[in-house]
């Protein structure tokens, strides 16, 4: 083989880029691409604002102030971010294994029901016992909900997109069912449960603000998923499954087991998000509390480029954007639906940008 090694490296002939991109480079490149996409989205949305007769600069300034302008604004945005991080990182793990879980909303909904039910059923327990129990119930319920779709895929060959999507309707309608029935607050006139006992409320994270400790849980979950994906055999299995089914089979990785495990994980995280919303934000179960969360979780996973650690910036972006939007709506009279336009445009531009990147993607 000696003479062969003297030839110019044929490996380079096949790939113009040559060497593997370094981690730092990839992150910088990712931020650059996504930053550009976000700027473009705002620019296009500015045109829409102009057409609507509003000054885009004024509108964006009120959006920024609404997101960062005061302690209350920031803590509001942080609380909005929490469920996004939890559900988003779960979806990220699913997508890594090429399991298209779009059932975040249903999993959040049943997680919320379970957490509220425990908190209402055992109001006299001390907070140190009640809160973990309620959150755990939420996680288990969410995991169970996702596992139904996983089992349907494995044993009945029902595509997970269909399974999780349908279970969304069932899950959110179960919230309504519970609130119009046994869990509803008598005489409230609005489908909501009675207020939870105070010892079921999530403790604050930063004294003097509304930020609740669910945020800490979410950040821990994101870091945990990062470690799982890149530093454990479990994560390695997920990545093999996501790259090619035949490679996974060859490596002795069971597809059924992987699908079930990742669905349980994502469902548990989404269920936790539901529990955190109930115990930390509303202090009760209310109808429609999970609305839109599941799809935002998918958007966040894509915005993060399916990188668990990148779910942090992506989740914060969504949280602050939406809380700023509410302020913009109040102050400038811009419909907050414009924010959904910005979110949508951002996703379009991000997906375009990622299209440029796919050739060099690492799985």
């Amino acid at each position: 083989m000696e003479t062969l090694t003297k030839d110019p490296d044929p490996s380079l002939a096949e790939s113009p880029a040559g060497s593997a991109p370094q981690l730092v480079d990839r992150w910088r490149q990712g931020f650059l691409l996504i930053g550009t996409a976000v700027l473009l989205a705002f620019a296009v949305a500015a045109i829409a604002l102009g057409v609507a007769g509003k000054n885009p600069l004024v509108a964006y300034w009120s959006l920024i102030r609404g997101a960062f302008g005061s302690v209350d604004a920031v803590s509001f945005a942080l609380n909005k971010t929490t469920p996004y991080l939890l559900a988003g990182v779960g979806v990220t793990m699913c997508f890594r294994a090429r399991v298209i879980n779009i059932g975040g909303e249903g999993q959040i909904a049943v997680g919320g029901i379970a957490a509220a039910w425990v908190a209402l059923a055992l109001p006299s327990l001390p907070a140190a016992v009640l809160i973990p129990m309620a959150l755990m119930a939420g996680g288990i319920a969410g995991a169970f909900w996702a596992a139904i779709a996983g089992a349907l895929k494995i044993y009945r060959n029902v595509h997970e997109v269909l399974g999780t999507l349908m279970l969304n309707f069932v899950g959110t309608l179960m919230v309504s069912e519970a609130l119009h029935g046994s869990m509803g607050e008598p005489g409230a006139g609005f489908p909501q449960s009675p207020l939870l006992a105070e010892n079921a409320w999530l403790p604050g994270l930063v004294p003097g603000t509304d930020v609740h400790s669910g945020l800490l849980l979410a950040v821990v979950a994101v870091v945990g998923c990062h470690l799982l994906l890149w530093h454990t055999p479990f994560g390695f299995r997920l990545r093999l499954l996501g790259s090619s089914e035949s490679a996974a089979a060859y490596a002795g990785v069971s597809s059924a087991r992987g699908v079930l495990e990742v669905m349980l994980l994502a469902g548990c995280l989404a269920g936790l998000a539901g529990g955190v919303e109930v115990l930390g934000v509303h202090y009760r179960l209310i109808e429609g509390f999970s609305s839109g969360f599941g799809f935002n979780a998918v958007a966040i996973a894509l915005l993060a480029g399916l990188e668990p650690a990148a779910v942090l910036p992506a989740g914060f972006f969504f949280g602050f954007l939406e809380s700023g939007a509410l302020a913009m709506q109040r102050e400038v009279g811009v419909p907050s639906s414009l924010v959904f336009v910005i979110e949508g445009l951002t996703m379009v531009f991000v997906l375009c940008a990622m299209g440029l990147q796919t050739r060099q993607r690492r799985v």
Binding site: P16, S243, S244, Y250, G252, Q360, R362
Partner: protein
Amino acid sequence: MTNPSPTPLLEMRGICKQYGHVQANRNIDLAIAQGRIVGLLGENGSGKSTLMKVLFGMVRADAGTIMFRGKPLVNHRPREALAAGIGMIHQHFMLVEAMTVAENVMLGWKPAGRWLRRRTVARLLKEKSGHYGLDLDPDALVADLSFGRRQRVEIMKAILRGAKLLILDEPTSNLSPPEVTGLLAALRRLRNEGLGIIFISHKLGEVLEVCDDVVVLRAGEITGAGPAADATRASLARLMVGRELAPPAPPATSAPGAEVLQTVGLSVRDNLGVERLHQVGFNLCAGEILAIAGVDGNGQNELANVLAGVTPATSGRIVFQGADITRRSARARTAAGLAYIPVDRSSTSLVPGMTVAENLGMRDFERAPFRKGPWLDRKAFQREAATRVTAFQVRCTGPDALVQTLSGGNQQKLVIAREIGRQPKVLLAFQPTWGLDPGAAQYVLEQVLALRASGGAILFISSDLDEVLALGDRVGVMFDGRLLGPLPRGEFDRARLGFMMVGAEPGARSLPTETFQAAAGPSVP
């Protein structure tokens, strides 16, 4: 190069193409005359694919000119190349499986008319294909056709569209010997009618048999060109590789060791209930190579997968070192010392989007040294990769290089490094030299022989008779899901195996000719 007609059909001058800092084509001149078959030889990465892509308009050259039938081809795309009369038969066919042969020929073909005239096209197709000895049934669904017949459809498509120059990229790599004979005869007839043909191949024997001229590329440059009559296998191999290639030494017969692998009545049905493997029984001893020949698609894939534990057996037993492993998982078999080299590198034996280190650990990541408690040991991945990359001479930028940046030969070295580097008791090698250039292929065979010398048992499955004849201590043939033989060394020769490959019993010495037609393709629909 000899040039009998005054103006050549095709004249490429000074073609240069650079990818990054690698010169894929360096100042290449290529002339093809009417009525000549020109063999284009070269290792993987030597630049022959790039040159053909430039010609067909799939890639733009940095410099150089192309004259085709007296007209320049500038900044052209495949559509213009087709219109000018260049037909390219890719390795992967561009056919619609759900349509008939005639419909595939009509697709996107203007002269087929504004209205679908299936009858007319079918008649024309039948006439023309019969004329070239490429008989086709115009009404057959492409999905039902064997690989060889699909290739005929592609060739007829090009000819009916009025191609004056035909480019065939590795046309014989998936054909049985009788199919190869048929293809070469058809090419000769086309040549005699004035077509120019570029025949890209690794197989020196076929090139010498059918080509009028040979052009050899190495590292982006032409290292030799001339009439095929003046060339020999050895001279061509030297021009391609830049050194002499000795054929792999036939293994010295030695007393086989203890039996390590045995199968009894092994059968496999696929999802549709079709039996793909029927009652396969053999035994394999330490220090022995059992080679299995056969036309692709006769159950070799199923045999390899069921032995490796990737797919379950429907019935029968697999005994490995005295223990029944029929129900054991792929992972358990790997851990016990059963290595497997599948044929497909792009999505089975390797994950192109993962790093070299991760690919080296992908079959062992649940065990030490790759695993430490609940964690993957990233340092161990790096360490193992560094050791094996050196030991098996894998050329890459390091353990963190993505596998998709490696050449085909280096990718296969990586698979060898993982599977043989584990020092397995039994190696299942399924077409381990598929798509490799002669240098890389020889390296793979040497590693297989080295494993045998150190006491490993090897099941070597290949559709390349030369390899099977060179390596096998015993040789069996897969036909229609059955294993014929195996015969010990001395009892088999090329002719006898050739008969077995089309379904004759090991004792037979001749076969009625029509059986060739029927049995040439994969037998399963």
